[in-house]
Symmetry: D3
């Protein structure tokens, strides 16, 4: 299985902000943005693996710039790193004021996806060859994020075991 | 400003899984779930603060159980901890097989919200009084998550400063 | 087949009111609310019967309090009474002003559902054991509503037979 | 204020049934249909009154024929009767099998609307002049439905007064 | 195969304009209107052919009157002409100011559809018998539009062959 | 007012095909695609003019390759030519089979937009400087399309004047 460049999974999605995406404070709902992030990242994962993929996790997201209805939102994503059957996808969220042209990073996000074969079993995926300095930086720091993520997944499972599900609703 | 109990911000949202929420692997899109998580958490934040609130961050989410179209999804959320103007909201996602009644924790999530006054400035919010053992556990561990989140927010801002936004799309 | 308590089919759905749910008079569309009512009631019917269920009828709904975009809408539903293969589900609609915390009953609704087996034939469902005074009141008055509903269904069928369907559109 | 004919408020809406409108039993969700019913009826009310209108009530609906994804749904509505500031709107729901052309009444519905002036106060609306035998039949029977509806509205308000709203969610 | 009258495929769809359908200039998005046009035209094609149909092309659309949120939009469509396996459908878009009752043609559109049999092969469709002067006019001018459309389809294919698809996104 | 390069208005939007976008023949609805085309083209027009823009027309669209649920859809758009207050936007629709990576032009489209100033009057927009051979080809052929479009707009207005709007629905 041949390795692939980041640019081969590059995916771009530019959207207007519609009234239903806006909260009472006149800024974009976090939930709308998270939905777009998962959507585009899943296409990057499919382009890298050429297999059906399922979201395994999403790292923390910090909304560092508000997005308003005057902005368009441009999301860029690509696979930064791949293990045997899983991939890390990076998503960059750029808010662009359509009247002034000013562009700002509104948030960034790292997601992991698992690829599956036709029998629903995890399937092997190509390795990643980073090229630009941004790609190299994100590729090299992937193992730190992976270690951290593994620890959080363990904590998340322990919390799930601790929690009760039998409340009456 | 009087403190409030967790149960005063408790919010519940049960939903069916619709065809448009399902990916090619026949499980719920991560993006649909994230959108519901933000929606319900923002109601908990409003109930605790009785002010307009905006999502500041969402911690990592690990999808530990797949959700299928046979399931209903029950989300429960409440405020676990509050600072001067910000709140941490916990969301528990329970998948219930509607035919068998089996219930499983599918994911958990912690979000932070900031409350605003009528002039758009951050506004003070009540402290939290935990009561049940679950509430106490989440309340006591909130400062560890807050420290961790602060560090990640800093990293997120540094990454945003490093990234370029002038690509032609 | 064992009987079930009302609380076993209790379902709760809290939602924000989005711009697309608002009519020109700045209040919630009746249609949006009716859609949520059917959604939650169908989950209660599934929880009581643990079978696929189809809406057979909805009693009249009176919108006794307007719902605005400042409110959240909390719907509660449970099965109040069951026959051999059909169930009556009660839905309570509570509008909550998110800034003041004031809660009002905005509407109530009774729906009937029929349960089906895997061959698409009506299937037996458990009887209902009411516990609270509200549940007992609604359980005891169910037969009056059932008689009334039967009469209206007959009228509805007679009206359908009387009406013409061949107009050119 | 001149009276108006039923045909002046006649409104027609034909729709395809989309995957998201279909329940697990492969028939149209009651909620989707109710949402379309309110949508079209509100246009009939606006055409009769030429004022902003708000849904006051919807009579019981009996789903007497299932609607599948092979069908188109044709809704017809018009104002059957008007008081000083309120109107009764009738909606006929016809399911048409698009491959065979067979058409069946799937449900009927009566809604009431109140018209408002620019200050948000109830506004006078024209009387109704029925012409066809169907219109005359529905116009003549309107007062029976109005009496019945008044009684149900009273019951609905009494039930709302009886119900508690302080449950913790 | 018997010929059919235009009125046999007549389809009408009246809709309100919702906040999400409105652009920043407070008029209806062209995209929402185009989506409704394709929806209703496909029902006309199905009614004429009583077969599954797929959109082959849509002629140019000129938005000659703006549509605002105070308007309802009424679309009328019918099959104007049929070849062996394809049909031309005409759609008339009428904007109606709900407060004044004023109605204006906002746009018109011609689409072509191909009918398919159960094996996915193009299937024969009935010829069209026009009756009204409008129907006759559109039927008689159909061959001019068909010639023109054929030429444009050829240009469209040549342009597609000329264009590159390998850009990195 | 300085002229702008095509690349300054380049906009890209990649989307998955969801179940609700699929017709009974298992291919993408023309209406969904047209809605996306208008959405992305309006962002290109805003990026070129940095003003609010409204769709004036869309040229004919020929669906030359079917799009299925296995595909992602990538739309690219940019302004090809500008007059005083109007712009022509070109949209290229590429269907990509996510499993095989095969990419095909599914359709192309030309739209025109008018820019407006704060008083709602048409506003001047920059001229276009084409660079690539594709851009030059589309820029040079723009005047032929403009002449043709003007003629069709005239025909469309004449047809609108000829048509009646007083039918009873």
């Amino acid at each position: 299985m041949e390795s692939k460049h980041c640019i081969e999974s590059l995916t771009i999605k530019t959207s207007r902000v519609f009234p239903n995406d806006i909260n009472n404070h006149s800024t974009l709902f976090g939930g709308s943005l998270m939905s777009w992030i998962d959507d585009i990242a899943s296409i990057s994962a499919a382009r890298h693996s050429r297999k059906p993929c399922v979201t395994a996790s999403i790292d923390s997201i910090h909304f560092i710039q508000p997005i308003t209805q005057k902005d368009s939102v441009c999301l860029e994503s690509y696979v930064t790193w791949a293990g045997n059957t899983s991939m890390e996808v990076f998503v960059k969220v750029i808010a662009e004021n359509l009247l002034s042209g000013e562009r700002k990073i509104a948030a960034t996000s790292f997601l992991t996806f698992v690829a599956f074969d036709v029998n629903g079993k995890p399937a092997r995926v190509p390795k990643v060859i980073p090229e630009s300095s941004e790609e190299k930086y994100l590729h090299e720091t992937a193992s730190v994020r992976a270690d951290h993520r593994k620890e959080r997944r363990q904590q998340s499972k322990e919390l799930a075991d601790y929690l009760k599900v039998e409340k009456p609703w």
